[in-house]
């Protein structure tokens, strides 16, 4: 029995040390999540990409309506001119506020349906999607 006393002391010490380390790991979990800066930055960049996408979407819907007439959809040439101006403004804003290169162009005209390509690029992210707007009489 006495021969095991030292071993018991050592075993108990190991158990206490493990318990302290476990508490430290649990408490550190929140700090670690915040310390992964790359993930936080990417989330913010994607958030910016989507915010500009929604603004582009709303703007394009209105442009398609206002470029056309009440009884006729917009011509491709007129729409391309207006989209080019819109793209320029959004791109300036995205470059300034998010350090991003924003692309927006009319890609396909299919009857009354207009398909636009939207891109949002940063050093960490390449975001691409299409926006489809359908013209309809008011």
């Amino acid at each position: 029995m006495s021969a095991n006393r030292g071993q018991l002391v050592l075993a108990g010490s190991v158990a206490i040390a493990v318990a302290i380390l476990a508490v430290g790991v649990v408490l550190n979990a929140g700090t670690y999540a915040g310390a992964v800066a790359g993930n936080d930055h990417t989330v913010e960049t994607v958030g910016s990409a989507r915010a500009y996408e929604r603004t582009a979407n709303a703007g394009l819907e209105r442009l398609v309506t206002e470029t056309g007439d009440d009884d006729a959809p917009p011509t491709e040439a007129a729409l391309r001119r207006n989209v080019s101006t819109f793209h320029e403004q959004l791109a300036l804003s995205a470059a300034r506020s998010a350090g991003a290169t924003l692309g927006l162009r009319l890609d396909v005209v299919d009857g009354n349906r207009y398909v636009f390509v939207y891109t949002f690029d940063t050093p960490d992210l390449r975001y691409r999607t299409t926006v489809t707007v359908e013209w309809g009489p008011p």
């Binding site: 006393r5 030292g6 108990g12 493990v18 603004t55 207006n82 320029e88 959004l90 506020s97």
Partner: protein
């Protein structure tokens, strides 16, 4: 048969001293393990309290998400655009309708707009401070910018979070102040009542305004 009245329980004899050394060594190792574990745990836990007026690291990411969500909600329900246009058709006021001064906009007051109420309900009522700035294009080439203040509640701390959202204005968008009559952003700018200019005069597009919210 032995009587172990000796502390440590070992019997004296040829192997007693060896066992004592072993016990000592094991005790020292055990103590060392505990100290190392304590040191390792202390390295990863923040022990100092946060400075008053700052935003802790564990709060910043969720708070940034809240700001983005608020801007998204305001954009979706139209209150973001209406707030950008909340001006009267007046050349005298030079700030938002009912604002304090052009320098601070509404200052620490709650703006009487949907965006203002969202900011109050989600941030200022919980003890946070908020600044809101509108940045717009003045010239396209080369690009130059102008800025007006919507809300100003002080100088942000180093740990403040910020998010922004673009708003597109069109020529025929009306001013939304209580004394805006039938003025549009374009007509009000021409008369000197509205500061954001028309940077696309050849079409229905007017300007793109960046609304930036800072919270701390």
């Amino acid at each position: 048969m032995s009587r172990s009245g000796v502390t440590g329980g070992g019997s004296r004899g040829p192997h007693g001293e060896d066992r004592a050394q072993a016990y000592t060594l094991e005790g020292v190792l055990g103590a060392l393990l505990i100290v190392i574990a304590l040191l390792a745990s202390m390295q990863v836990v923040v022990l100092t309290p946060a400075t008053a007026g700052t935003v802790g690291d564990s709060v910043r990411a969720p708070l940034n998400g809240e700001v983005r969500s608020l801007l998204a909600a305001a954009a979706t329900n139209g209150s973001l655009s209406r707030s950008v246009r909340y001006w009267n058709d007046s050349r005298v006021e030079r700030t938002f309708a009912g604002g304090v001064t052009p320098t601070v906009g509404y200052g620490s007051r709650t703006p009487p707009t949907g965006l203002g109420r969202l900011l109050r309900d989600h941030f200022t009522s919980r003890g946070y401070h908020v600044n809101v700035f509108l940045t717009f294009i003045v010239t396209r080439s080369p690009p130059t910018w102008g800025r007006i203040t919507f809300v100003y509640q002080g100088r942000p701390s180093d740990s403040a979070v910020a998010a922004s959202r673009p708003v597109t204005l069109f020529d025929d968008d009306p001013l939304t102040g209580p004394r805006s009559a039938n003025a549009t952003v374009a007509s009000a700018n021409r008369s000197g009542a509205y500061p954001i200019p028309d940077v696309a005069p050849n079409g229905s597009l007017y300007n793109t305004v960046d609304v930036r919210v800072v919270v701390w």
